[in-house]
């Protein structure tokens, strides 16, 4: 008898787990505390915060809403979104990254343009022209790009973009020389590594490493556009005078750049594991402080790699990174840093058709953009995470700064809702920055000694000043917001997909080749077989369209 009962119980338990998946309800379900709960999926890797996160709770009390965020794990963004579409059930909020158009084409997103006028903070987020730029082929707006939106005066201290980075200790050793060209950059790394082959604790340096994992291979492939003095159009160069698309893969500069990498690879300066390492392995190397230099985007290594360097106390040994204004030849203008926000029209936060309470969801976005909630997100709780001085300026103590970069504290206390719309620049009070890292005083106090010394030696105050800054080149900028939405349904999209595949395979081969000329010739041969001209011509069409569109507002 007993056995029967046990097996009956087990049966029920099994059945209930089977059906548990089916009972999921979406959209503004009100929990027992009277708080609406939404779900969100972001097609980027990220860290989940604790369920009882304190600031999330505070925001929930003020807005009546809470969002359970989940992130990409172990898949590519395209796979995750493709799977969602195939399944036909979505979380309430989604940022599908490059697959946003696929979500739109699958009819999974709710058009937002009819609602926007009712939400003042959302309405204020973009200008009329910027909102129009977001309209899809059917004339509706489906997503809100979250980032790079400057409120008031721009306050950039950190160069949140791509650069040739170098550790402060290398510059200090060489007496802070002027480094302007690719050759000078590698000469510096070589001579430093010869004089100091190891770190203070005896671990060997890795002079130069290249991240090449999946979509992050931009660290290898797109430097030629910057070396030629063009800004980050990402997939192509735009000639600003003739308004013509140029393919940066085949320029003489590209060849010189890869030849240089090839030489350095043979000399043992380029990390031999470059092309087979995963992103995690790369970050582990950066965190150890062994890597002297690399090309990368600041956001790609700063929040894990640099934070780990700080946590390990390696910042005092000068293991943090400074950007250098590298071009291919001397005396060229560089555009590693552009001022002004970049509206990435290709992706953003969207609300899906599975969401039962679209108004509630939009109200939450609207609330998040209000100044007091925005301060909670990016400064924290007053008195706990920051203090206010007599002039009304926010500041932090060294302890507060330290805990703000502590992983456990981030998970249990801080809640930035980092993939919801947000501002940079100056707060609505006209004094403070929208976020702690852009507050000048706060930024400078937070720097380690070696970085302060380095800035002093070069006579600059911020990372951005290390590079200098130029305004965005034109109203087409940036072109990558188009190329990243291409799918294989057009010839240009097919060419783009094939080019990516070929470059993933051949660029490492070229860098590792015994005979560079031979390797380059082979690469160029297969590259031409991808029909890059199809891609270029579609990009040209888009460039022309954007210029026409922009002319309407002049």
């Amino acid at each position: 008898m007993k056995k029967k009962i046990v097996s009956a119980v087990l049966c029920v338990a099994m059945l209930s787990t089977m059906f548990a998946g089916c009972g999921k309800q979406n959209g503004g379900v009100v929990n027992k505390d009277g708080i609406k709960e939404f779900t969100a999926f972001f097609a980027v890797p990220g860290s989940e915060i604790n369920d009882d996160n304190e600031i999330q709770q505070l925001i929930a009390e003020k807005t009546g809403c809470k969002v359970k965020e989940s992130w990409l794990t172990g898949q590519t963004a395209e796979e995750a979104i493709g799977t969602l579409i195939a399944g036909g059930e979505y979380p309430d909020f989604v940022d599908a990254g490059n697959s946003s158009v696929q979500m739109y084409e699958a009819g999974a997103l709710v058009p937002l343009d009819d609602y926007i006028d009712n939400y003042p903070n959302i309405k204020e987020f973009f200008t009329e022209q910027e909102w129009d730029a977001l309209r899809q082929s059917d004339g509706h707006i489906y997503w809100i790009p979250q980032f790079s939106n400057i409120y008031g005066e721009e306050r950039a201290c950190v160069h949140n973009d791509e650069a040739f980075w170098i550790q402060a200790r290398v510059l200090e050793w060489a007496g802070y020389p002027k480094v302007e060209t690719l050759d000078e950059y590698f000469d510096l790394i070589e001579s430093y590594n010869e004089a100091n082959p190891t770190m203070e604790d005896g671990t060997e340096n890795i002079p130069y490493t290249i991240l090449c994992d999946d979509w992050r291979y931009f660290c290898l492939e797109n430097a030629p556009q910057f070396l030629d003095g063009y800004p980050n159009d990402g997939s192509v160069i735009v000639d600003p005078d003739k308004l013509e698309i140029i393919d940066y893969n085949t320029t003489p500069t590209a060849k010189r750049y890869f030849q240089k990498l090839n030489e350095e690879y043979k000399k043992g300066i380029v990390d031999p594991e470059s092309f087979t390492q995963t992103y995690d392995e790369y970050i582990a190397k950066i965190s150890s402080g062994r890597v002297l230099g690399m090309v990368d985007q600041w956001w790609d290594f700063a929040y894990n790699g640099e934070d780990a360097i700080k946590a390990a106390g390696l910042d005092e040994q000068g293991c943090q990174y400074v950007p250098l204004p590298i071009t291919i030849d001397k005396g060229m203008k560089n555009q590693w840093h552009n001022s002004g926000g970049v509206q990435n029209v290709s992706a953003g936060l969207a609300i899906t058709t599975s969401c039962q309470d679209v108004e509630g969801a939009l109200q939450f976005i609207d609330d998040l953009l209000g100044q007091d909630i925005h301060d909670l997100r990016f400064w924290g709780v007053e008195g706990e995470d920051y203090l206010v001085d007599d002039n009304g300026l926010y500041y932090r103590t060294p302890e507060m700064r330290k805990q703000a970069s502590d992983t456990a504290y981030k998970a249990s206390h801080l809640c930035t809702y980092s993939y919801f719309p947000q501002y940079i620049g100056t707060s609505r009070d006209g004094k403070n920055a929208m976020r702690a890292e852009e507050q000048e005083g706060e930024f400078f106090d937070g720097l380690s000694e070696p970085i302060k010394k380095c800035f002093e030696a070069y006579g600059v105050k911020t990372y951005v000043e290390m590079l200098g800054t130029t305004p965005a080149p034109g109203s087409w900028y940036p072109m990558y917001t188009y190329s990243s939405t291409l799918t294989t349904s057009t010839p240009g999209g097919v060419a783009w997909a094939k080019m990516g595949e070929i470059k993933h395979q051949y660029l490492p081969k070229v860098v590792m080749s015994e005979d560079f000329e031979q390797g380059w010739k082979e690469y160029m041969k297969v590259y031409k077989e991808c029909k890059p001209e199809d891609f270029i011509s579609e990009m040209q069409t888009e460039l022309d369209r954007r210029m026409e569109e922009a002319a309407k507002y002049e």
């Binding site: 036909g88 697959s99 699958a106 031999p272 092309f275 294989t488 081969k509």
Partner: protein, 306 residues
């Protein structure tokens, strides 16, 4: 000859539990194996999620034509077959050899310990196995350190950067992970061999080697045949996780399998039709392989599936 029994209530009552479970299993098989086949329709359509199965445009065999004119697809077929066959041969032979060796061990306790340790890797997921491989084969990993130490090489080998190492690495990983597990069934088959056969062989003056050759191997031959048949059908399931996790841009020409192709074009690029077409191709080839090998087995009077 027994007379064919007609249906009768008494039998039904006796067997009602069996009949109940048979019905449950049949329903399960129908729902999870046959019903999803409706999705095959996609391969003959220009499927778009927004129009669904019912309203997408039919394009006949166009997707298949596209598939077979794609050099990349022909390459993934080659890779899948190559890795499938290598894996089949290596893991199959290793499992039998391992089972026989284990059976020859005199110490009962030692046998148990070895067997347990050897099948444990089976329970690790591929993500962990590939993580271990990645570390072990890295420039500063144990393999390169050992090779350097014994002077076999002067520079660390970058195992994942060369196409020629990829298939052997995959085969090795499969052997390491599955040998112990696959050996279990052979060990079971060996224990069911009548001990008197061994005694008779010993009386005839057979040594260890002769006993293995003339008693053990013939004794487990039916098991070997059945497993071989079932595994032949799986040749095209050469794997997904391991190639997906170990592959990189440099070796993509040899690392991508049909499953990865389906994922890449079907899911990532959103062309569900071409993904389905590739999947159908794979299933059809597998069925053909099984039928062909089953017939060969039948002709030779061996154990077979159907």
């Amino acid at each position: 000859m027994t007379k064919k029994k007609s249906f009768n209530m008494v039998d039904f009552k006796h067997q009602k539990v069996l009949i109940f479970w048979a019905a449950v299993i049949t329903a399960y098989g129908f729902i999870f194996y046959y019903l999803p086949l409706v999705g095959w329709v996609m391969a003959f359509q220009n499927y778009k999620p927004v129009t669904g199965l019912l309203h997408s445009q039919f394009v006949g065999l166009e997707k298949f034509k596209l598939l077979f004119s794609d050099v990349a697809f022909l390459r993934v077929i080659r890779n899948t077959l190559a890795m499938g066959i290598i894996n089949l041969v290596v893991t199959f032979v290793m499992a039998i050899v391992f089972a026989i060796l284990l059976n020859e061990m005199a110490s009962k306790g030692g046998k148990k310990v070895v067997q347990t340790i050897s099948y444990l890797p089976h329970f690790l997921s591929w993500i962990i196995v590939t993580g271990i491989l990645h570390d072990a084969l890295s420039g500063t990993g144990i393999i390169n350190t050992l090779l350097l130490h014994f002077g076999c090489i002067s520079q660390p080998i970058n195992f994942f950067a060369h196409e020629r190492y990829f298939w052997p690495i995959v085969a090795f990983a499969n052997v390491w992970k599955e040998t112990g597990w696959n050996a279990i069934i052979y060990l079971a088959a060996i224990t069911s061999i009548d001990p008197s056969l061994y005694e008779a062989a010993a009386i005839d003056g057979a040594g260890r080697w002769e006993k293995i050759k003339n008693v053990t191997l013939p004794g487990i031959k039916p098991t070997i045949m059945i497993l071989l048949l079932m595994n032949v059908g799986n040749v095209l399931n050469a794997g997904f996780e391991i190639q997906y996790l170990l592959g990189n841009g440099l070796v993509q020409n040899v690392s991508q399998t049909i499953d990865i192709y389906v994922l890449k074009w079907g899911i990532s690029q959103g062309d569900y039709s071409i993904g389905t077409a590739a999947g159908i191709f794979k299933s059809v080839v597998s069925i053909v392989l099984i039928v062909v090998f089953n017939n060969i087995a039948k002709r030779h009077g061996e154990e077979r599936l159907f």
